[in-house]
Amino acid sequence: MRKSAKQYGLIALLTISALLCRGQQLFPDVTIKTIDKQDIQTKNIFHKNEITIVSLWATWCTPCQNELDELNDKNWKDKGIRIIGISVDDARSVDRVKPLVNGKSWDFDVFLDPNNDLKRALNIGPIPYLAIVKDNKIVYQKTSYVPGSEDDLLKIIQNLK
């Protein structure tokens, strides 16, 4: 196909449009799996009126695990906030998820997205990815992890209330 100024203009337009488009997004309803590999719809993993922090992570992603280690060390339950980890490990490493979760003594629910159906529906790039979800709506989302950013989440959630 011939390259032309029009094509580069189109890419520029798409980029700007993507950066400008913002708003509340529904958390996609797709089939994922429980940590015991039973099918479950994502709409059924949330509790009504509960604020939930959702982290997409993998056993091979060190920053993701650092973030979840820190989230696990904080007491969210008393504040009425729930943590959910969704592993995007594929067949190579999905069998390491449950042992790793238990080995680390993580005290929150973990689900599996082995062929990345949820990750694709969220249209996100590389992990870590974190979203705050209320009533099946994504009210905040961020990519990448910086140590200490878990402390900011509480402030963000307090502003949402």
Binding site: T15, A18, C21, L100, N102, G103, G125
Partner: protein, 571 residues
């Protein structure tokens, strides 16, 4: 590409722009449905580098860029979406040649257009998709289509897929179509059916759970030596209290297997066995995996050039290397890649047989070794062997004579993660690696005659939180080996100014290389800005050539030097 297709692409492009405009205006208007999407862009400005011997001819595009724009529209039970991809002026180095065309003057020119699109209807227990879709049967050994932009894999099927759940415990998926190849589709036609049955309710036991699975996949290719290739998979998964046992067996019809040293093609049946056993409780868990593969390469074509392509084009199943996925610099020098097919060479390859064991445990808080914050420990041992066999010197046919031939690869590692206080945390890793370059090929691009490589790797990582989201990290790595390119070291410095701005510097140095002119610093400096779901990063550096692995699939990349930009956002 034809003129008709060009008009189609322009039409689809206009549709995308309309959808974006609508997104900005109607994001919160639920009655009109919802639109979501994402954009990823990776670009590099390549430079000549006398150190690594990289020299671009004047006609070769120095600036290359991969761009992916995806948009989905959801209205009640209906969902439609499309992905526009642009590899302009040319795809990044190491990506499939199917993403570009060669102009009459011999210059590679990148392609662009609507690469995938779909329409989906879901209601209760029925899910129908037309267009491009991704699917996995079982562990993917018999069939998997997926997208990995880092590796340049997108082997989606274009066709029709129907999923039904006649009962709560039974799920059936049927599909038919052609595989995506660049911006076109394969000649080979795919058909498949998969079923999953959960016996949990029938067993009436809170401790015991059994799930069964079965798949049938076929590839039809007109004019091939064998036009129809069938593959079958049977699976069982048993949960009992804290134990989980999973097993899968796959049979595949005789298919193109290998091209011998004389250039003749051989066809052989394929088989695979995969088993895993897991025991886990809070604070302690272990898992063991075993796999045996023979002739399990499965493609939507039988052309030897397709089967041996290094871009993973037209692959129909997923054969990840079952080893620990390390993510440091020196730990990725000697990585194992799955050996799924026969290679007629001086040290012939017949398949693979091996496994790995993982142990995870947590030394609890306030215990003797746990300290105030506890200590997390992960152990891994992986070992992989060739199947024992011989190749007939006349016919070049092969014969398997035993289960365990030469050792391909071994990896033993321990990782200790310790949080000292609210400010300091550290990770210590030790890895002992064995790599058989005679059978597997040289991972550092040294050609034949490297022999076997034994290496000891030490990694120390420490992070200090200053205050808020201001933090610094240092990683020190060392690889010691008397073999191949001898010793390597690496240092990484990273500083996060706050949750938005970060910068880093890395230097990977082959300081032990016997050829002093090849003692090259593979340096990289970069900075990034993140806000919400948007991340922009820029970096400059020199990338070593060799085996690049992501998600268990590997490809060879050539060394390169240049300026990189990336932008990722979703909405």
């Amino acid at each position: 590409m034809t003129t008709k297709n060009q008009y189609m692409n322009k039409l689809k492009t206009i549709l995308i722009i309309v959808l974006i405009t609508k997104t900005a205006l109607a994001q919160n208007q639920n009655n009109n449905g919802t639109i979501s999407g994402g954009y990823e862009s990776y670009s590099e400005w390549y430079q000549n580098d006398p150190k690594t011997g990289i020299s671009f001819s004047p006609s070769d595009p120095r600036f290359r860029s991969n761009n992916y724009f995806k948009i989905d529209y959801l209205l009640n039970h209906f969902k439609v979406g499309a992905q526009y991809e642009a590899y302009l002026p040319a795809p990044l180095l190491g990506y499939s040649t199917k993403l570009q065309e060669i102009s009459p003057s011999g210059i590679p020119v990148g392609d662009n257009g609507i690469a995938t699109y779909y329409g989906n209807f879901t209601i209760d227990q029925l899910d129908i998709t037309a267009g491009y879709f991704y699917e996995q049967f079982g562990s993917g050994l018999v069939f998997r289509t997926w997208e990995d932009r880092q590796l340049g894999i997108n082997n989606a099927i274009k066709g029709l897929r129907i999923k039904v759940k006649p009962t709560e415990d039974l799920a059936i998926t049927a599909l038919s179509g052609y595989q995506r190849v660049g911006f076109e589709t394969s000649n080979g036609e795919m058909n498949g059916i998969n079923s999953e049955l959960n016996l949990g309710d029938l067993l009436n036991s809170s401790d015991l759970g059994i799930r069964l699975g079965g798949s049938y996949v076929s590839r039809y290719l007109s004019g091939a030596t064998t036009s129809t290739i069938n593959a079958y998979s049977g699976r069982v998964n048993v949960d009992y209290a804290r134990l989980n046992l999973g097993a899968e067996y796959i049979m595949k019809d005789p298919d193109f297997s290998y091209q011998d040293l004389n250039g003749n093609s051989h066809h052989n049946p394929g088989s695979a066995i995969l088993a895993n056993l897991t025991y886990s409780k809070k604070g302690l868990a272990l898992t063991a995996q075993y796999r045996r593969l023979q002739n399990m390469g499965f493609y939507s074509d039988t052309d030897p050039l397709v089967v041996k392509n290094t871009y993973n084009d037209q692959v129909l199943n997923y054969l990840p290397s079952l080893t620990k996925q390390h993510d440091y610099n020196v730990t990725n020098l000697y990585r194992y890649a799955t050996q799924a097919r026969v290679i007629d060479q001086q040290s012939p390859v017949f398949g693979e047989n091996g496994g790995q064991i993982d142990v995870f445990f947590n030394l609890p808080r306030w215990s003797f070794f746990g300290g105030k914050f506890g200590t997390k420990i992960a152990l891994n041992y992986a070992v992989w062997y060739n199947l024992a066999g011989t190749i007939d010197p006349t016919t070049r046919d092969y014969k398997i004579s035993g289960e365990f031939g030469d050792k391909y690869f071994q990896d033993a590692s321990i990782e200790i993660k310790k949080k000292w206080n609210d400010k300091w945390s550290s990770v210590f890793s030790y890895i002992n690696t064995f790599y058989n370059a005679d059978a597997l090929g040289s991972p550092t691009g040294q050609g034949a005659g490297v022999g076997t490589i034994s290496a000891n790797i030490f990694v120390f990582e420490s992070t200090h939180k200053w205050f808020g989201t201001k933090s610094s990290r240092i990683i020190l790595e060392h690889l010691a080996t008397p073999d191949d390119l001898k010793n390597w070291e690496a240092i990484t410095l990273e500083h996060n100014f706050n949750s938005h701005y970060s910068m880093y510097a890395i230097d990977l140095y082959n300081y032990g290389n016997p050829d002093i002119s090849q003692r090259i610093h593979y340096y990289n400096i970069g900075a990034s800005y993140s806000r919400g779901a948007t991340r922009f990063a820029v970096s400059y550096g020199r990338q070593r050539g060799g085996l690049f692995c992501s998600g268990g699939v590997c490809r060879y990349i050539q060394p390169n030097t240049g300026l990189n930009f990336s932008l990722v956002t979703s909405f």
